[in-house]
C-alpha cells in the first residue's frame, strides 16, 4: 500500500512539474497586468524545439536553452502586441496559441530526419532520467520528492525563489505595483513598459520550459498535441493559486495527482470507460474555478491584479 502511494506521489510530481513551471511563469506575467492566453501554443513550441534540439545535438542543456529561447520569442510577440500596440490581450494570446500549435505541428512534420519522412513523431532522443538522491530517495512516501529528474529539482528552487522575489524584494514590489496601479507606479518612477516586457518575457520562458519537461522527461519524445490542454489548465491554476507562486505548487500537485490516479486506475483495468477518466481534469478545473471564484467573491481578500488586461497609456488625455 505504501509502495503504491509512493508511486502515485512520484508520478504526481512528475506530471505536475510542467504545470508548476508554466503556472509560476504565468503568475509573473499576470502580476504585471498582462494576461497571456498563449500558454498552450508556447508549451507546444517549447516541447517540439526542446525535443528536436536534444535529438540532433544530443545535449539536454542545449535543448533546455532552445526551449527558453522559443519561449522568449513568442512571449515577446505577445508583449509587443499587448504592451506597445495595446492590442486586445485575450485575442493576442489566442493568436499565440493558434500560431504556436500550428507551428509546432508544422515543425513536427518538417524537422525530422529524411528516413523518418521528416517526422519527429516516433523518434527516441536523450531524456532527463529520474535521479534518486541517495538515502532520501528510499524513504517511503516522502522519497517520491527525491526521486525526480533535474528539471523537477530545479522547480523546487524556482517556487521559493519566485515567492521571495515577488514579496520580499524591491523589484518584486514594483512588479506587483505595475499590475495593480500602473499610473501610480509610473509616478513613483517605475518604468511600467519595461517591467511589463520583462515580466511577460520571463514568464514566457518558464512556460516554454514547462513544455520542454513534457518532451524531455514526462512523456519523452514528440507527439502531436503532447500538452493535451495543459496550457489551459495552467490558466485555471493561476487563479487557483491566487497569483501566489507558493500556492502554485499545491494546485499543480493536485492536478498532477488527478493525472496519476487516472493513470493508475487505467493500469488496474477499471470498468469506468477511459473517456470519463480523461474528462476528470477538465471537469475538475471547472469545479475548482467555480469554488475559487465563489470564495474570492465572498472574502474579497485576494483578487486578480487590478490592472490585469488593461493596456497602459502614458500621459494620454
Amino acid at each position: 500500500m505504501i509502495a503504491l502511494i509512493t508511486s502515485i506521489f512520484t508520478i504526481t510530481l512528475r506530471a505536475g512539474t510542467s504545470l508548476i513551471y508554466a503556472t509560476v511563469g504565468e503568475i509573473f506575467t499576470e502580476r504585471s497586468g498582462i494576461l497571456n492566453l498563449g500558454l498552450e501554443g508556447m508549451m507546444l513550441m517549447g516541447a517540439v524545439s526542446a525535443f528536436a534540439t536534444a535529438y540532433y545535438t544530443g545535449s539536454l542543456l542545449a535543448a533546455v536553452v532552445a526551449a527558453m529561447a522559443v519561449g522568449i520569442v513568442l512571449s515577446s510577440i505577445h508583449a509587443f502586441l499587448s504592451i506597445t500596440m495595446r492590442a486586445n490581450q485575450v485575442v493576442s494570446g489566442l493568436c499565440i496559441t493558434i500560431f504556436g500549435s500550428g507551428m509546432a505541428s508544422y515543425l513536427g512534420q518538417r524537422l525530422g530526419p529524411a528516413d523518418n519522412s521528416f517526422y519527429l513523431v516516433g523518434l527516441v532522443g536523450p531524456r532527463f532520467i529520474p535521479i534518486s538522491i541517495s538515502g532520501l530517495g528510499s524513504i517511503p512516501i516522502l522519497g517520491a520528492v527525491f526521486n525526480q529528474d533535474i528539471l523537477t529539482y530545479i522547480v523546487y528552487l524556482i517556487v521559493p525563489l519566485s515567492w521571495v522575489f515577488l514579496y520580499k524584494t524591491r523589484d518584486g514590489l514594483n512588479l506587483r505595483a505595475v499590475g495593480e496601479n500602473p499610473g501610480t507606479a509610473d509616478a513613483m518612477g517605475v518604468n511600467v513598459f519595461l517591467v511589463r516586457y520583462a515580466a511577460t518575457i520571463l514568464g514566457g520562458m518558464l512556460v516554454s520550459l514547462g513544455g520542454a519537461h513534457l518532451s524531455l522527461a514526462y512523456t519523452p519524445g514528440w507527439a502531436e498535441n503532447i500538452t493535451g490542454g495543459r496550457g489551459w489548465i495552467v490558466i485555471a491554476l493561476v487563479i487557483f493559486a491566487m497569483w501566489n507562486p507558493a500556492r502554485a505548487m499545491l494546485g499543480a500537485v493536485l492536478f498532477g495527482g488527478i493525472n496519476a490516479v487516472q493513470f493508475r486506475l487505467q493500469a488496474a483495468g477499471t470498468t469506468i470507460p477511459a473517456a470519463f477518466l480523461n474528462m476528470l481534469p477538465y471537469l475538475a478545473t471547472i469545479v475548482v474555478l467555480v469554488v475559487v471564484t465563489w470564495w474570492e467573491n465572498l472574502s474579497k481578500r485576494i483578487g486578480a491584479p487590478a490592472a490585469l488586461c488593461k493596456p497602459y497609456i502614458r500621459e494620454e488625455k
Binding site: 506597445t84 500596440m85 473517456a275 471537469l283
Partner: protein, 361 residues
C-alpha cells in the same frame, strides 16, 4: 525626432478597409520568409494554394464545404465577442450539436419527414446548453468564461469519441470507429458537389444577425454591454440575462454547424468532426471585425487557406500544417494594425517636450 501616436477623431471607411488588407499582405510576406527558410518558392506555394482553393469549380465547392462550419461558428462567436464574452467553446458546442443530431437520426425512430428537422433542432439545443452552462456561471457567479468554455470543449470531444468508439459504434463497420450511416431521411440536401443546405442557413443567419444587431433593442443592448458595462448597468440593462440569452443563441448556432456537418457531409458520427473549426472561428470573427456579412466572406478566404494548404501538401510536399501556420500569422499584423485604425502615427522633429497630444512611444 520622435514618434507620437495621435488618436484619430474618427476612423474613416478607407482606413477601416485598407488596414486589414495591408495586414493580410504583410502576413503573406512574413509567411514567405518561413517558406524561403523551408527552401521552397513562396510564389509557387501561394500560386498552388490559390489554384487549389479557387482555381477550379470542384475545388471551389470544397472550399465552400469547409467554409460553411466556419461561417456558422464565426457568427456564433461574434455574438458573444460583441459583449466581450470570450466564448472559445464553439468547438465543443459544434461537437455536441453533431452528437445530438446523430442521436436523433439513429435512435429516435421518428416519422421520415420529421427526422431531419428534429436532428437539426436537437443539435441546436445541445449546442445552446453547452454554451449556456458557462454563460450562467459567468453571469451569476463571475466564473471566468474563457476557461469554462474551453474545458467543456475537451469534455464534449471525449464524449463524442467515447460514443463512436464504444456504445454507438457500427456493429457492421469492420471495427472502423464511427456510428452506422444515417437513414436517408436524415440527409441534409446538397446543392452542388458536397455543398449542403448549411450554406443557405449561414447566409440567411448572417443577414438576420446583421439586422438584429443594427435595428433591434437586443442588438443595441449587446453593443452597449460590449463597449461599457458600467454604462449598460446605468441604462438599466439586465446584463446577466442578456449574457445568458445571447450565449444560448451563440451556442445554438454552433450546434447547428455540427448538426449540418454530420447530416450534410459525413452522414454518420465519426472522426473528423472536431478538427478545430471552433478555434478558427475566432480568427474569422476577429478578421471580419465581428461584422456578420464580412464573416461570410472571411470564412471563405480562411477555408481557402486550409483547402489550399492541403493542395500544397500534395503538390509541393510541404506539411499541411502550413495552412494553420498561415492562419496564425495573419492575425498578428491584423492585431497590430488595429492600433492604426484608431490612431495615427505622427513624426515630430526636435525635442518639443510635452507638446504632443497623444502618447509618446
Amino acid at each position: 525626432m520622435r514618434f507620437v501616436l495621435e488618436k484619430r477623431e474618427r476612423t474613416s471607411q478607407t482606413v477601416a478597409v485598407l488596414v486589414p488588407i495591408a495586414s493580410f499582405l504583410f502576413s503573406l510576406l512574413l509567411a514567405a520568409v518561413l517558406l524561403v527558410i523551408s527552401r521552397v518558392s513562396p510564389i509557387a506555394t501561394y500560386t498552388a494554394m490559390f489554384k487549389g482553393a479557387f482555381g477550379t469549380w470542384p475545388n471551389f465547392t470544397e472550399t465552400l464545404v469547409k467554409a460553411i462550419p466556419l461561417m456558422l461558428t464565426g457568427l456564433a462567436v461574434s455574438i458573444a465577442f460583441r459583449m466581450e464574452f470570450w466564448n472559445i467553446g464553439a468547438e465543443g458546442q459544434l461537437t455536441l450539436g453533431g452528437v445530438a443530431a446523430a442521436w436523433v437520426a439513429l435512435f429516435w425512430g421518428l416519422p421520415v419527414w420529421l427526422v431531419l428537422p428534429a436532428a437539426l433542432v436537437v443539435g441546436m439545443l445541445a449546442g445552446a446548453v453547452w454554451a449556456g452552462i458557462p454563460a450562467f456561471l459567468n453571469a451569476h457567479m463571475k466564473v471566468n468564461e474563457t476557461l469554462t468554455t474551453l474545458m467543456l470543449n475537451y469534455v464534449a470531444i471525449l464524449l463524442s469519441q467515447h460514443l463512436y468508439y464504444g456504445p454507438w459504434r457500427d456493429p457492421k463497420g469492420y471495427g472502423f470507429p464511427g456510428t452506422a450511416p444515417f437513414p436517408e431521411s436524415a440527409w441534409l440536401l446538397r446543392i452542388t458537389g458536397r455543398v449542403h443546405l448549411g450554406l443557405v442557413f449561414a447566409v440567411i443567419l448572417a443577414f438576420f444577425l446583421w439586422l438584429a444587431l443594427n435595428r433591434t433593442r437586443w442588438g443595441f443592448e449587446i453593443k452597449i454591454i460590449g463597449k461599457n458595462r458600467t454604462a449598460a448597468r446605468f441604462l438599466g440593462i439586465d446584463i446577466a440575462s442578456m449574457i445568458v440569452v445571447s450565449l444560448l443563441v451563440s451556442g445554438a448556432v454552433s450546434g447547428l454547424a455540427g448538426a449540418c456537418e454530420v447530416t450534410g457531409i459525413s452522414r454518420r458520427l465519426q472522426q473528423g468532426l472536431s478538427i478545430g473549426y471552433g478555434y478558427t472561428a475566432i480568427i474569422v470573427a476577429w478578421l471580419a471585425q465581428l461584422n456578420p456579412i464580412a464573416i461570410i466572406f472571411v470564412a471563405i478566404l480562411i477555408a481557402g487557406l486550409s483547402v489550399g494548404g492541403d493542395q500544397v501538401q500534395m503538390i509541393m510536399g510541404l506539411p499541411s500544417a502550413m495552412g494553420l501556420v498561415l492562419q496564425g500569422m495573419i492575425l498578428f499584423p491584423m492585431l497590430a494594425g488595429a492600433l492604426f485604425t484608431e490612431h495615427r502615427l505622427v513624426i515630430m522633429r526636435g525635442a518639443s517636450k510635452g507638446s504632443g497630444e497623444g502618447a509618446a512611444l
